[in-house]
């Protein structure tokens, strides 16, 4: 028989300095009438308070406690509410430790009062331990407390030590009870104490118009105090209405670029807030969570086993996320969004004082087994959870305006749906779960589908909640968050044979004689052939001016020579251009990943902008050239099952007849060129469309028609001499020698150059 032991250790902060010895400037009677008690509350020179940790250990009163582990035996009770691990939903429920002590007389020896010899009273007969403690410390919030459990045969180092941070204390009460309440470290992510970004205190000192390119902050000096210099650029939100990019700062004056993140440039009033935005660009989830926990919650980096987070993320997710958070938001909310979007389980491992990070997945079939031989009698329980079932996962991604609410569906460009309709038939009804993934950038369909696959895989069959108790001396000590298998009489397959059910422990309470386990059935039905090296970018809606490298960086980690990038332009989708000087689709700069394999599948169309038609005039006016479609400076493979069209040229103006002349038609393109007005100011010409150029104007000499896709615009009919020439067609492909066509080259219209 083992004898159970239970200890509590509290790290009490105290000053390492000696009273009145430099750098401590305290002196009697100038700073106080008696010497301090090395605590902040009694410090007489707080500027020089030099904190060190003084650990106090407590035990219960019991004969089984060994003398060689010194402890104050005033521990009256420990109430431990274990954490609940949330699987893919949020940060779960915090562990809570409530420790109650009995008050007693205390001699202040053992290092409790460095200046004991200077006191003019007998500390044992004056006051009590906790009464004096309370008189010396205002708060212990954030200080470490440890719950230690073991047996008489163990050394302290061999015992289980669970780590928490103190939340509050209370007492001593009239009946001599003193209580310390502690939480796990993730409590510090709660919104009432950790916000990201941090609230900015600057505001506009004067009105700015919708086209001003600088602003001045108030109060004076706030620029240097709170706002970065502008190298690199950063973003601020003004008055909650517009996000601007700050490119430089001089004192309180910010140089800005307007209307960022799809917000609109508008005028702002004096006093409008200027809030620093928190922007993550192409960062993996482990980076984001680490940044939030360490830099916004103040948690020690020691709590985060970052390399293991990286390995887990790389092997099971391999994706990066981008977001702009324009207003202070609770870190718990942001972290929970990441947990849901990435399909994670993030929890506090109190045994090792680490924050754990797992991607949802399967339980190993050789995991340890809990069955009738080691489950304590009458403790096994099982409960269905139909409310947790999901048959369709709708992932909204590609947030448009960060200043709008996260759960507004019309604030997202795209939705990715992952569904199991067979399961719906089996269960009788759909079960739809919506995820608002502002962290997934535009064009991140494959990332969104992965999110859906993880969530659906976990919840397409609703997991059962299982509870059981395991004897303390069981050879396999259960670990929170880990996977196991269970067998019980009530768990059977279709033949009635005993079935083994995989579980993941979501709550674990270590009592003196047993482990109380709460677990979720760990069902996981793979919904995709996940390949952590897959780097697919899906263009599933009309877009303008795609730079493949920029899109890649928003979604995936830095590429290397082994990376294979697949970009798919879905059928019916047109990638166009807003400017004839810009390519509709740029493959981009991949010079840092020489050898990268890029595969472009075009089921839809890449199309340059159409050139504008000429304005009718008495002189000779040519149509504008059409815009280019595709450019690559690196080798790529193209499977063109759709179209590559350059913009058609705009039509030239017509001959003048009695001072009248028709404008040219707009060239075909995406968007088409605008038809030119006739010389009298009326517009009779047609605009280009994605399929054809517009007709020329009809006043006087007709204007030339706009060119069709990939074609130059037409000259104005020229019976006279002042007609205009049609604009040239844009370039269909620039860098064609870098392209290897897979199969037929497809429909390509417009010049191809290198």
């Amino acid at each position: 028989m083992i004898s159970a032991l239970q200890y509590i250790e509290v790290d009490v902060p105290r000053c390492s300095l000696v009273y009145g010895t430099a750098p401590c400037t305290a002196s009697i009677p100038t700073t106080g009438s008696i010497k301090c008690y090395q605590s902040r509350k009694t410090c007489q020179d707080i500027e020089n308070f030099d904190e060190e940790v003084f650990t106090v250990r407590f035990s219960e009163a019991g004969d089984q406690y060994p003398a060689d582990i010194e402890a104050i035996n005033s521990l009256a009770g420990v109430s431990y509410t274990p954490a609940v691990v949330s699987l893919g939903e949020n940060l779960g429920q915090r562990a809570s430790l409530s420790v109650t002590f009995k008050d007693h007389r205390w001699s202040d020896t053992g290092g409790f009062d460095k200046y004991l010899a200077d006191r003019d009273y007998d500390p044992f007969t004056q006051g009590t331990f906790w009464g004096k403690f309370r008189g010396r410390h205002r708060s212990l919030r954030g200080k470490a407390i440890r719950f230690i459990q073991g047996s008489v045969s163990q050394t302290l180092a061999e015992m289980e030590t669970r780590h928490f941070l103190i939340e509050s204390f209370e007492g001593p009460s009239p009946d001599g009870a003193f209580t310390i309440v502690a939480k796990d470290a993730l409590k510090f992510a709660d919104g009432d104490r950790s916000q990201a970004p941090v609230l900015s205190n600057g505001f506009l000192n004067a009105v700015i118009d919708d086209n001003d390119l600088s602003l001045t902050l108030s109060p004076a000096g706030i620029g240097n105090a709170e706002y970065p210099t502008g190298t690199p650029d950063y973003y601020v939100a003004i008055g909650g209405k517009e996000i601007v990019k700050v490119t430089s700062r001089s004192g309180d004056v910010l140089t800005i670029q307007r209307a960022q993140f799809n917000t609109e440039a508008v005028a702002h009033d004096a006093q409008d807030r200027v809030q620093l935005c928190l922007v993550y660009e192409s960062e993996p989830p482990e980076f984001i969570l680490n940044d939030l926990f360490v830099n916004y919650c103040g948690l020690s980096a020691d709590y985060i086993p970052y390399s293991s987070w990286e390995a887990e993320s790389a092997s099971k997710l391999g994706q990066v996320y981008s977001v702009c958070i324009p207003e202070p938001t609770g870190v718990d909310k942001l972290a929970s969004e990441i947990v849901q979007v990435c399909g994670l389980a993030v929890w506090w491992d109190d045994l090792f004082a680490k924050i754990r990070f797992n991607v949802l997945g399967t339980v190993s079939t050789d995991a340890a087994l809990f069955d009738r031989s080691n489950t304590i009698e009458a403790t096994f329980g099982i409960r269905d959870q139909p409310e947790r079932r999901a048959s369709q996962i709708w992932v909204y991604y590609g947030q448009i305006n960060p200043l709008k609410k996260v759960d507004e569906t019309d604030n997202y460009r795209s939705t990715a749906i992952t569904a199991d309709f067979d399961a719906e038939d089996d269960y009788g009804t759909p079960a739809i779960k919506k995820i608002f993934a502002r962290w997934i950038a535009d064009l991140g369909r494959s990332v969104a589908l992965r999110v859906g696959a993880l969530q659906l895989g976990r919840f397409v069959d609703p997991p059962r909640a299982i509870s059981l108790d395991i004897h303390r001396e069981n050879p396999v000590a259960p670990v929170l968050g880990s996977g196991y298998q269970v067998k019980a009489l009530c768990l059977q397959d279709e033949t009635g044979a005993a079935a083994t059910v995989p579980i993941q422990i979501t709550r674990l309470r270590p009592d003196k004689d047993r482990w109380k386990i709460e677990a979720q059935e760990m069902l996981f039905t793979a919904q995709d052939d996940f390949n952590p090296d897959d780097r697919t970018i899906i263009v599933d809606g009309n877009r303008f001016n795609i730079n493949l490298r920029d899109a890649y960086d928003q979604l995936y980690p830095t590429p290397d020579s082994d990376t294979v990038v697949n970009c798919i332009i879905e059928s019916g989708v047109i990638v166009g251009s807003l400017n004839t000087s810009l390519f509709a689709f740029e493959v981009g700069d991949w010079s840092d990943a020489v050898g990268v394999e890029i595969n472009l599948v075009i089921n839809g169309r890449i199309q340059g902008k159409g050139g504008n038609g000429a304005i009718g005039s008495v002189g000779s006016r040519p149509g504008d050239p059409g815009g280019p479609a595709l450019r690559t400076t690196v080798p790529i493979n193209v499977e063109n099952l759709g179209d590559i069209f350059s913009g058609g040229g705009g039509g030239g103006d017509g001959d003048s007849v009695d001072g009248r002349a028709g404008g040219g038609g707009g060239g075909a393109g995406a968007p088409g060129g605008i038809g030119g007005i006739d010389r009298d100011g009326a517009k009779r010409s047609g605009d280009g469309t994605t399929e054809a150029g517009g007709a020329g104007g009809t006043q006087g000499g007709d204007g030339g028609a706009g060119g069709g896709p990939g074609l130059p615009g037409n000259d104005g009919p020229h019976s006279g001499t002042d007609w205009g020439a049609g604009g040239a067609a844009g370039t269909a492909i620039d860098g064609v020698s870098n392209i290897t066509f897979i199969g037929p080259a497809g429909d390509i219209r417009g010049p191809q150059i290198n």
Binding site: M1, I2, S3, A4, E60, A61, G62, D63, Q64, A67, E70, A71, I72, N73, H104, R105, W106, S107, T109, G110, G111, L116, D122, F124, D371, R372, S373, N374, T375, I376, E377, A378, T379, F380, H471, R472, E473, N474, A488, K512, D513, R514
Partner: protein, 273 residues
């Protein structure tokens, strides 16, 4: 462990009172009157004056040399016992001798209780011939481990005039334990865990003379719940059965016989082995 000096032993031999219970509650030790040859700064010898048995509130030497802890115990009455609670003299094999100043040769010390080696770390109750003393000292002769002790009482022993007979449960023999035994769903024995272990017992002093209760026992009764005391229930027969206990409830003497004799019940808990 109860140890009797050789001189007192001669007196008690064949005495009918040798097995009457004794209580060591009277204490003349003060923090100002303690001097130790060696002490750990965090565990000063002044701690020996408080009755807390926690090691953190006790004295620790920082030396393994032979050493003394000396107590000034000026009293108008004779003293006849020294009690020690929570020490390491048994575990770490540290012989103990009690000495007092030689009244005829100032500076010299005489042996009061001859050197002995405690068998374990249980409370020690050392009795000697009643003597007027101004000082008393404990000589410790450690080997490899520095000595420590938490509580020292020096004073006049309270001898109960009536023995304890049937029904008494010596607290040294068995502890009050809380044990959880678990069985598996399949009916297998999984094991037992000792959750807690404490020492307690109860006793009744019967047939006490009313005058003795009022004159001698009453001062003890007034502090027996607030201050721990050394307790030996049958000193001659069971000298190893000594505890350092407090009354868990108020003990009130009652008039139990027509002739006025009284009795007192005690429920006590504390450290014993």
């Amino acid at each position: 462990m109860l140890v009797i000096s050789q001189a007192l032993s001669l007196t008690l031999t064949d005495s009918p009172d040798a097995n009457c219970p004794v209580i060591g509650w009277h204490n003349l030790v003060t923090a100002a009157g303690i001097t130790a040859d060696h002490e750990d700064a965090d565990y000063p010898a002044t701690n020996l004056a408080n009755p807390a048995t926690a090691i953190l509130q006790g004295w620790k030497s920082d030396s393994t040399d032979d050493q003394y802890v000396t107590f000034d115990v000026t009293s108008e009455n004779e003293i006849d016992y020294l009690g020690i609670a929570n020490h390491n003299f048994g575990t770490d094999e540290i012989p103990v001798t009690i000495e007092y100043p030689d009244p005829e040769n100032p500076g010299d010390w005489l042996v009061l209780v001859e050197q002995f080696q405690p068998e374990d770390d249980a409370p020690l109750l050392l009795r000697f011939v009643p003597t007027f003393l101004t000082q008393i000292r404990i000589k410790l002769e450690p080997d490899a481990v520095s000595p420590r002790m938490s509580v020292v009482y020096v004073g006049a022993i309270l001898a109960i005039p009536r023995k304890i007979y049937v029904g008494y449960q010596p607290m040294t023999l068995i502890a009050d334990t809380s044990v959880q035994t678990n069985w598996s769903e399949g009916g297998d024995f999984l094991g037992s865990i000792l959750i807690n272990e404490k020492r307690s017992t109860s006793m009744t002093f019967r047939n006490l003379l009313p005058a003795w209760v009022r004159a001698t026992l009453q001062p003890f009764l007034s502090v027996c719940k607030t201050q721990p005391w050394f307790w030996a229930w049958r000193p001659a027969a069971y000298p190893l059965e000594v505890g350092f206990v407090t009354a868990l409830q108020a003990s009130k003497p009652s008039n139990s016989r027509p002739n006025g004799m009284m009795e007192v019940d005690f429920q006590v808990g504390g450290i014993a082995p």
